[in-house]
């Protein structure tokens, strides 16, 4: 049981304000979405990219007059990819900022910890839309009813990776993972996928959340190498995963290493390229990445075209308080594309709500959405027991310093 005396005080104040303001917000008020994500620290690219993609689409909607005359705004707080701050931010967003809904949260340990609050604030109809995590806790009872996902799950991603590696003749699979709820989810996904084929993972090594690229992950490399795997599935965030790849390659180990969507493949690739330039070698060989959105270079998809147009047009920045002028922002990324798609789907939901923006209707309205066309050639549907819009997993690899879709795993055949 958690108690926040300060929050309780603001809750009382908030309730009073709600009562005075009347049952519904004024028509021309903004629709405020609450976002808690990593905007600082070693995983900040994840929060920033997700935010930027969403901001591009909301900017587009707002410039066109908003939804029913109401503009969309994101209230963003940094949690540094840590559960404690994520919890505090969530309370603040619900009680103090009285946000319409929670949106674009980043990370499994953070979301997992905040989930009970959705139950606690059931009376206020608190919902979390499209978190940037494929973990199971918010896809399973009792919290699944409070959360809507767009992306495929880590189980689906890891299962896809395992299946493809097995097909390529790589049966000895080891896992390198972040020792927390996220890493455990990925580890469990690999374990389940292997178990289907009567296999077990041959080795595992862990790292602590928040590990920086500058740190050595040589011990983990040595532990896994001893198990002599054919492939390593890496469940982590970009800084540590890049460091692991660097140390593996520096040790002369060229085993294929696969990362999953959450890693932030663009940030990972950037770190490895910068390091490779300094060292005069290529660290991006033998890499696979599973993605939950298509490649941003896939111009055959209308959504990708629109995304690129809007990104170029608005060149969205991170939230002002977390913006550092000197940092170059990527033109496109998987993160911002996911943020963009999340925003696009959310606008569909809000439009579906009509003029009555009663939060209590959010669940029913969203569950009623079927075959929504976001421009991905994959229809997005929800249902009473289906709170995940897409199941599709995409794969990419790095070729000649460029991230490209991986459709043929022939290069990884043993």
């Amino acid at each position: 049981m958690f108690l926040w005396p300060k929050s309780l005080a603001t809750l009382a104040a908030g309730l009073a304000a709600v009562c005075l303001a009347g049952p519904t917000n004024a028509r021309d008020e903004e629709i405020v979405l609450g976002m808690s994500a990593a905007f600082k620290g070693s995983s900040r690219d994840l929060g920033i990219e997700l935010y930027r993609g969403a901001a591009a689409y909301f900017e587009h909607v707002n410039r066109a007059g908003g939804v029913n005359g109401r503009k969309i705004r994101i209230r963003a707080y940094d949690d540094g990819y840590n559960p404690g701050p994520a919890l505090e931010n969530t309370v603040r967003l619900i009680e103090q900022d009285n946000v319409f809904l929670l949106f674009n949260y980043v990370g499994t340990p953070t979301v997992t910890r905040a989930l009970p609050l959705l139950k606690k604030y059931e009376g206020r109809s608190a919902y979390l839309f499209f978190p940037f995590t494929g973990a199971e806790p918010h896809r399973q009872p009792p919290y699944d009813e409070k959360v809507f996902n767009l992306r495929a799950s880590y189980r689906q991603e890891t299962a896809g990776l395992v299946e493809n590696f097995l097909k390529a003749g790589r049966k000895r699979v080891a896992v390198f993972y972040q020792i927390d709820a996220y890493g455990r989810g990925g580890w469990d996904g690999v374990r389940r996928a292997l178990a289907k084929h009567g296999l077990k993972m041959v080795g595992e090594a862990t790292y602590r959340r928040g590990t920086a690229f500058s740190e050595s992950l040589r011990p983990q490399v040595d532990i896994l190498r001893k198990a002599d795997p054919d492939a390593v599935i890496s469940v982590g965030a970009y800084a540590a995963c890049a460091a692991f790849i660097r140390d593996a390659r520096d040790a002369g180990w060229d085993v294929p290493i696969a990362n999953i969507s959450f890693v932030g493949s663009d940030s990972l690739q950037k770190l490895l390229e910068e390091h490779g330039k300094a060292k005069g070698r290529d660290y991006t060989r033998g890499l696979v990445n599973s993605q939950v959105v298509p490649h941003y270079d896939d111009l055959s998809l209308p959504a990708v075209k629109e995304y690129r147009e809007l990104m170029d047009k608005y060149q969205p920045l991170p939230p002002a308080e977390f913006h550092e002028g000197g940092r170059a922002l990527p033109r496109y990324s998987f993160g911002s594309l996911e943020g963009f798609l999340n925003a696009k789907l959310l606008i569909v939901v809000i439009k579906q709500m009509g003029k009555d923006l009663d939060r209590a209707r959010l669940r029913a309205v969203t569950e009623s959405l079927t075959d929504v066309d976001l421009g991905l050639n994959v229809p997005v549907s929800f249902g009473a027991n289906k709170h995940q819009g897409m199941d599709r997993v995409y794969y990419t690899t790095v070729r000649d310093g460029r991230s490209v879709p991986l459709d043929n795993w022939g290069a990884f055949t043993k």
Partner: protein, 403 residues
């Protein structure tokens, strides 16, 4: 430092006492802390393991491992918890907090088919010394929760506590040492002065006018006061001896003078007698000579009167006179010898008195003591301490000098 031997001894004793105290206290508190903290530590581990075991039944059965992991992660922040891991009914570790990998030794901790919570000590590589607290989930039907309570945390806590204790005791030792140094210095100073005075009296000028500064109402002050009284007594005795010897010198001088006078008159008498003997034939002169003899010899002895009587009866004959004169000569000769002896004795006495003078002169006395007021000289010294002496000392207490 030769003069600080008492201080060195006192400090060494103090240091030794402190060292013993410190060692005993440190060992005792380490033991006490170890037992209390270990018990507390293990019960904390049991509480955590039990709570995870209780909560994780449904999570393990109906939910995914991410939720289990999120749950056990929270306990890593608890002080002393070095790991948490969950094994399923098949004994496979399904969630843990180890990084970079699960230590080899963990296998030995698994598969305890027990229905109650148990504690086992283990040493895991990369983790250290731990007490592995194992709590079965649903009587072990679903699995078990293991919580590793670090012994290193206990040890470092004990180390820190004992270090603080040692620091405190050393600080106290420094303060007490400084105080003791000051105290011992204060005690030793009068003793040193006393020693110096005694040394001075023993080897130096024999200054009996020196007095110790009798500060304080403690044993040292008392000793100093009694020492002063003692020195006063010695002073008085020496003063009296000096006065007495002075008198002796005077008296012996007088005796010597008298003896001299006596000797010279006897010789005079003897020569007169010889003249008388030579001039027995000279009757003219004999009357006058005998007259002289009578004058000279009067008061010497009764024999003179007899001679006078005899000489007045000249008619008895010269032979008779001659006999008498010879007899008288013998007597005078004897008298002279006795006088000589007296003179020698007086001279001896004077010599001895002078020797005594010289001897007591070695001591320095108050001005005039022994010359002007031999009996009252003691009045110059302070009265003896009025304090009650300790019972043991009472018998030795000198009689206070008369004032």
């Amino acid at each position: 430092m030769k003069n600080a031997r008492l201080l060195t001894k006192a400090l060494a004793l103090l240091g030794g006492l402190f060292a013993v105290t410190l060692t005993a206290t440190a060992l005792f508190s380490a033991w006490l802390l170890d037992s209390t903290i270990t018990v507390e530590h293990e019960s904390r581990g049991k509480a955590i393991a039990n709570s995870i075991a209780t909560v994780s039944v449904e999570t393990l059965l109906y939910r995914d491992l991410s939720s289990v992991q999120a749950m056990i992660d929270q306990y890593l922040d608890t002080q002393g918890v070095s790991y948490v891991f969950v094994e399923d009914a098949q004994g496979e570790v399904v969630a843990h907090t180890f990084s970079p990998a699960v230590p080899e030794g963990v296998k030995g901790l698994q598969g305890r088919k027990q229905k109650t919570v148990s504690v086992r000590s283990a040493e895991l590589s990369g983790v250290g010394d731990v007490a592995d607290v194992c709590s079965p989930i649903l009587d072990g039907q679903v699995g078990a929760v293991h919580v590793g309570m670090s012994h290193d945390v206990i040890h470092s806590a004990i180390r820190a506590a004992v270090l603080k204790l040692v620091g405190l005791v050393v600080a106290i030792f420094v303060v007490v040492g400084l105080l003791a140094t000051m105290l011992v210095r204060r005690l030793v100073r009068p003793l040193r002065e006393m020693a110096a005075v005694m040394k001075d009296i023993a080897e130096g000028e024999g200054d009996l006018t020196r007095q110790l500064e009798a500060r304080g109402r403690d044993e040292v002050g008392e000793t100093a006061r009694w020492f002063n009284v003692f020195i006063g007594k010695v002073h008085d005795i020496v003063a009296r001896v000096r006065a007495a010897s002075l008198r002796t010198v005077t008296v012996s001088g007088t005796v010597a003078a008298a003896a001299e006078r006596l000797s010279s008159s006897a010789q005079e008498q003897a020569s007169v007698l010889e003249e008388t003997a030579a001039s027995t034939g000279l009757v003219n002169e004999s009357g006058q000579a005998l007259e002289e003899i009578v004058t000279s010899v009067r008061g010497v002895n009764g024999l003179m009167a007899e001679i006078a009587g005899t000489t007045q009866q000249q008619s008895s004959g010269i032979a008779q006179v001659n006999r008498a004169v010879a007899q008288m000569d013998v007597s005078v000769q004897q008298n002279a010898a006795q006088t000589e002896e007296l003179t020698t004795t007086a001279q001896d006495l004077a010599q001895q008195a002078q020797d005594l003078q010289a001897l007591v002169g070695l001591f320095k006395l108050l001005d005039g003591a022994g010359e002007a007021a031999p009996a009252d000289g003691v009045g110059a010294f302070p009265p003896p301490p009025r304090r009650r002496a300790a019972p043991a000392v009472r018998g030795l207490t000198p009689a206070p000098p008369r004032v």
